[in-house]
Amino acid sequence: MKKPRIMIVDDEQSVRSSLREWFLEDGFEVETAEDGLDALKKLDTGPFDLMIVDLKMPRMDGITLLRRLREVDPGGTVIILTAFAAVDTAVEALKLGAFDYVTKPVDPDELSHTVRRALEQKRLTEENVRLREKVSELSSSSPIIGGSPAMGHVMDLVCTVAETEASVVIRGESGTGKELIARAIHAGSPRRFFPIVAVNCGAIPETLLESELFGHEKGAYTGAHYRRKGKIELANGGTLFLDEIGEIPAKMQVDLLRVLESHRFTRLGGTQEIVSDFRLVCATNRNLEALVQEESFREDLYYRINVFSIDLPPLRERLEDIPLLTEHFVDKYARSMGKPPKQMTVEAGELLQSYDWPGNVRELENAIERAMVVGQGNRIRPEDLPLRVEQDAVRPRNRSLDALESGHISCVLREESGNVSQAARVLGIDRGTLYNKIKKYGIKSG
């Protein structure tokens, strides 16, 4: 287990050495500084779990040091050490965010308890941040829906690669669910108890992307008022998900390659080397090989990230998943809108099956959300769907007979609330034949 790090800041050598011995015996890694300036210099040796700061010191006193610490690291934990006469100043220190103060000479039990409480509060605060991230990650993620052979193959690949440390590139058109697949890989990996940190490389201006990825020190550039950790540092122990990797600028490609090779980097404006142990998952809707050919994507970076590749099929190639996806989105929006779930009419269901879905699952989700908002009664009708779907739905264009049959059976089953006998009657076939077809197409009848 990693030893907690503590810095003792006091101008009296005897106090520094006494406390140093005391905390070494308690299993701490101890650094000492003789005043505020010395302490600020030594902050560069790495983060401290706790600082014990004397108030009265030459050159830079405890209050000034505390103010500077608040600017650099607002979350740092500080215990103030004070003479009895300086209690008023200690109270000022508490207002500046110090955890507590102890009066010299300190009762060993009081010091021991104060330190334990401070470390416990720090641990709880950090755990709270981690849990909040986890909750927001879980509440924002959706399950992967689809029983089609194409999605079955994708999920097999996800299971195979999740447990490894291999870098993965997820390819697919916009809206096919690349981020969901990245999250599924993370959730199935040994790193799942650490965060998955996502960066959309295409959505962030080049000037900000560097700071977003690597973080920055206070004053690294105009407006950098605080030290900020970058996404690479935040992904330590977990997964770094770089979406739209094909959009990453040329200079950043070099920097990224260096980090991927060593897992070491420095924050912008910083000198301290930071190590981050992360697994890389990337996604793109671009043809990376073509980008390498035209030299807008580095070949060495391509080989570094492309250890394992997963291709996500567009929705038009897995139309049989539409009924399940529709049902999922209807339930989702019914819950969030506080409405009862609606049933799809056969006509609306067939319309969904006959459309090309250039925006893929995202477009389907938007269409269902719209239908849930504008639709009257407990059915979704063709007129509730976006005009584009209604107009562009091309009846049986480029569609196989199997796809048409599967889609139609799904619609009728939904219309009949999953009653197979009733659906068989509507379809004009016997129950046995319908069961065979349900099995053949992997349709969920319930």
Partner: protein
Amino acid sequence: MTDEILLAFLNDFRPSWSEDLRRRVGAATDRFVRVDSLRVDLQRFHAPEREQYHATLLLAEMLRHRPAGAGHIVGITEVDLFIPVLTFVFGQAQLGGPGAVVSVMRLHADYYGLPANESLLLDRAVKEVVHELGHGFGLVHCPDYSCVMSSSTYVEDVDLKAERYCPDCLDLLANPPESRVNVV
């Protein structure tokens, strides 16, 4: 350096239980323990404003008196000890070093207004000596409250723990971290 431990009673302090202390410290540490008396000028370490004695300076004095044959020396005194930032200490040792000092003043039951109890005083003295020796062997405080290496800031904490090292601490003594081979 040998494994021998010297328990040095300072000046005229030589309690009737010194032999029991020697035997029990030997059993707890599994080392040869010798008892002797040592004369030191305690006034040099006296802080009149606190009416206490500077533990760190006394510890340095112990190191000067460590005989060539002794691996570890523990000075045992009746005077109250302090280090500058703390109100008092039961004892002090060098982490991973050969010297330690222990004060029995705050281990007496009558210090807390209770009837004198020599047997309890011996129990507490054994634990404090074995604890400070543990630091000398390189051990830090142990989270197991019943281990002799658990941190004691009140005498009640001392009473709560046993006079032996717990299995984890014994394992650390047998295989210090720097001598361990990482097994992947």
